[in-house]
């Protein structure tokens, strides 16, 4: 591999005023309405939640190294996988890219001074923190053992753990997600710089727009589902209790109506990041811009039609199952289009290997496996066998960890110089990317085999014949855990000792690279001029049939 072109370190500029040093003190942070500062607040809080959820994951994997599961008791194990699910889904994956990278970059990338409703943006962070503290309090006070899916009637009548407190936490955090979605949608519609038409917007903005649609239309249904759970626990009314005329499958319908589109809230922003990273490090516009942009919308809209594939074996009628299975297959097509277009972008590109593009390669590979294994679960006959087994666990971790987190880390590395004005250490970053990639595959690939063998998920004690695969998975988990710690260390290190990053360390195109890093409070000093999107100069190659005798076919 050729030597990488390390960006030239610029002499430290005289301390220029920017959004970080314009004001100091707690009040300047806790009462800020600057979208960039709110993004930093979110970055700190979701990192904290990520490591809490991650610690729960490591404990689970350590306990599962032995069939008898003798590290923790069954109750604790159930609480561990529940809190791992809740924190990772609601407090890390859903907010991570929209609230951190989205908050920071959506206004800048479309040439606006700030989001449409800055005060609502701050309120969104406070709601996130209030919801988070409810859930953490519930966790400390004894935890909840219903699984992040809260299936009735266990969660409504039989669980005696802190279900309502956790549900309240998720209820409040849901509104934080709604407000972020609302803010992005209005900003993207109303506050684009003159000249930036819809087809001149960066693909990251398209992805945020599609994600906002889901946040707006899906999250309220989850809020009501949680209200119904709380009512059922308090009043003992029979909405989900069959003895009183209700139906537990109704809960699953309402829950999955939100929770499946929620997985697209988690993956779409990562797809936006990958489009940006690939075009920047290939020095070329992404292949098939329109197809990638509209496939994001297609995924967001189709995402609301497919939730029934979570319920194929739950006594849902087979006819409804067939409809949901067909719709689930249709939604696989836009994802396939995206992967093919990203791969096609690499053709005849000028690729420089820096950490963001390594995460993008990891994303393409792992998201492909994750997406294709999703087809197994959409196929009715196979889902009967693999539903609620480790096959499902492996599938959604390939999408969430292999896809969403790789995308988040890739985006964080790509825009870190812009956010803090400092460069991260390239060598360490590549090393940690490799460790994460290896640790991830060692953790979750064996789980596909476990799944088809029939090992059910959420089992504290399992049959000795599954132990070898579990030990492999646990080994992978410890590597993955270390892999995630390294970036936090060197990112913090770079704040102090990192080389100063100029306005455009990657020589990339995009409005965010035309302003100094870190940006000033109002982002743009002079009026914004909008060129074509990704207008990288590319070398026109005379096509072989036109070359005639002058020089050999130049492939």
């Amino acid at each position: 591999m050729s030597e990488s072109t390390a960006p030239i370190a610029r002499p430290p500029a005289p301390t220029r005023e920017h959004y970080l040093n314009v004001k100091y003190g707690i009040k300047s942070w806790l009462l800020t309405v600057d979208h960039k500062r709110i993004a930093i607040l979110y970055l700190i809080s979701i990192t904290a939640f990520f490591f809490i959820g991650g610690a729960a994951a490591v404990l689970i994997r350590l306990d599962l190294a032995t069939p008898a599961g003798d590290l923790v008791s069954s109750e604790t194990y159930n609480k561990l996988f529940t809190i791992h699910g809740i924190i990772m889904v609601f407090f890390f994956l859903i907010p991570s890219i929209p609230a951190v990278l989205g908050n920071f970059l959506v206004p800048i990338m479309i040439g606006a001074k700030d989001l449409a409703f800055p005060k609502l943006n701050l309120l969104s962070w406070y709601l996130y923190m209030i919801g988070g503290s409810f859930t953490l309090w519930a966790m400390i006070a004894g935890g909840v053992d219903t699984g992040w899916t809260f299936y009735a009637p266990y969660s409504t009548t039989y669980a005696n753990t802190h279900v309502i407190a956790t549900a309240l936490g998720i209820f409040v955090t849901g509104f934080s997600s709604i407000l972020t979605g609302l803010n992005f949608m209005v900003t993207i519609h109303m506050m684009r710089a003159p000249g930036m038409t819809w087809l001149k917007m960066p693909l990251f903005i398209w992805a945020q727009y599609a994600t906002s649609i889901i946040m707006i239309l899906g999250t309220p249904v989850l809020a009501i589902t949680i209200v119904l759970i709380a009512i059922e626990r308090l009043l003992g009314v029979g909405i989900f209790d069959p003895a009183l005329g209700g139906d537990p499958v109704l809960f699953q319908h309402l829950f999955w109506f939100y929770s499946h589109p929620a997985v697209y809230i988690m993956i779409l922003p990562s797809m936006g990041v990958i489009s940006e990273v690939i075009s920047a490090f290939c020095r070329r516009a992404v292949f098939g811009y329109k197809f990638i942009a509209f496939s994001s919308l297609a995924i967001a809209l189709l995402g609301f039609l497919v939730w029934g594939h979570h319920m194929f074996v739950s006594s849902q009628s087979p006819y409804a199952g067939m409809v949901f299975s067909l719709l689930s297959f249709l939604i696989a097509v836009p994802s396939a289009i995206k992967v093919f277009n990203w791969t096609a972008t690499l053709y005849k590109a000028s690729i420089s290997y820096q950490t963001p593009i390594l995460y993008a390669f990891g994303f393409i590979g792992l998201f492909t496996i994750g997406g294709l294994t999703g087809l197994f679960l959409a196929t009715l006959a196979i889902d009967v066998h693999v539903h609620d087994t480790y096959f499902v666990v492996a599938h959604f971790h390939y999408i969430m960890v292999g896809g969403a987190i790789m995308g988040f880390l890739g985006g964080l590395h790509y825009w870190w110089p812009k956010m803090v004005g400092k460069l991260y250490p390239e060598a360490w970053a590549r090393f940690s990317a490799l460790v994460i990639f290896v640790g991830f595959n060692l953790t979750f690939f064996p789980q596909f085999l476990l799944g088809y063998l029939g090992m059910p998920r959420r089992y504290h004690v399992y049959d000795p014949e599954f132990q070898v695969l579990h030990v492999l998975s646990s080994a992978g988990a410890s590597i993955l855990g270390i892999g995630y710690l390294i970036p936090m260390v060197y990112f913090l290190w770079s704040l102090r000792y990192g080389k100063d990053a100029g306005p455009n360390p990657w020589d990339a195109k995009g409005l965010e690279w035309t302003i100094p890093s870190p940006p000033t409070t109002f982002n743009f000093e002079e009026p914004v001029t909008v060129g074509d999107v990704y207008d990288y100069p590319t070398e026109d190659e005379t096509p072989p049939w036109k070359q005639g005798s002058s020089e050999g076919a130049h492939v």
Binding site: A112, K113, D114, L115, A116, F117, P118, K119, L120, I178, L182, M185, V186, H189, M190, M191, I216, L217, G218, T219, P220, V221, A223, I224, T225, V227, L228, I231, L234, L235, G236, V237, G238, I239, A243, L244, G245, G246, D247, L250, H253, L254, F257, F522
Partner: protein
């Protein structure tokens, strides 16, 4: 719920001009109303499924509701929507006195609605027709009736809560109008609260027939 500009009049710093700010506030309120449609919508979906599964219990429950009171309430709420429209039109004209008069009208009609609602609720509490431990309904299909009443209280309660929030917004508008904040160019808050109020009216337009009028 848009930005109240601190300096140079009503324009918030990050908007290009007042028109962009007004349209953004409008779009923001409409998108918020889309979330509210899904918020109440999920309750209607659960209600539809539970009613389909317990037809007997739910029709017995419906017969316990007071249709005339419900009809009066619907009329009152549509009336308050009318005065709200006048308030928004006054806002466009920047006529603060007319804004205040119509907002107060809306507030009064809204409180008549809530008084009637409180009346209905007290009847239910008195007759023990309240889901949970106070439920003392002896007739048949008790489980179905209790579930119906649970939906009745959750849906109308959530609606009433939105009315109370609406009251807060109306009072806030009246204070702003008294301070002459609204001019011909800038009356976004009045428009925003107007949209919100009409939405709350639309929720009741669906609530009333679905809860009161099916097979009673």
């Amino acid at each position: 719920m848009s930005e109240i500009g601190e300096h140079h009049g009503a324009l918030a710093h990050h908007f290009e001009d007042l028109e962009q700010q007004r349209q953004s506030a409008d779009l923001g309120m409409w998108i918020f109303l889309a979330t509210e449609i899904m918020f109440f919508g999920a309750l209607f979906a659960a209600y539809a499924v539970c009613r389909w599964m317990n037809p007997a219990g739910f029709s017995t429950g419906t017969s316990l509701l007071d249709v005339p009171l419900g009809t009066v309430n619907t009329a009152v709420l549509i009336g308050s929507s009318l005065t709200m429209v006048w308030a928004v039109q006054a806002g466009h004209r920047g006529d603060s006195r007319s804004i205040i008069r119509n907002l107060v009208g809306t507030l009064l009609l809204g409180s008549v609605f809530l008084v009637i609602k409180a009346l209905e609720y007290s009847h239910k509490f008195h007759d023990g027709l309240v889901p949970g431990s106070l439920f003392t309904y002896g007739g048949e299909q008790a489980a179905g009736v209790e579930m119906f009443l649970c939906f009745y209280f959750v849906m109308t309660g959530l609606h009433a809560l939105h009315m109370v929030i609406g009251f807060g917004l109306l009072v806030w508008l009246i204070l702003l109008a008294r301070r002459g904040r609204f001019t011909k160019e800038y009356s976004n808050p009045v428009e925003g609260v107007g949209l919100y109020w009409h939405f709350v009216d639309i929720v009741w337009i669906f609530l009333f027939p679905m809860l009161y009028l099916l097979e009673h």
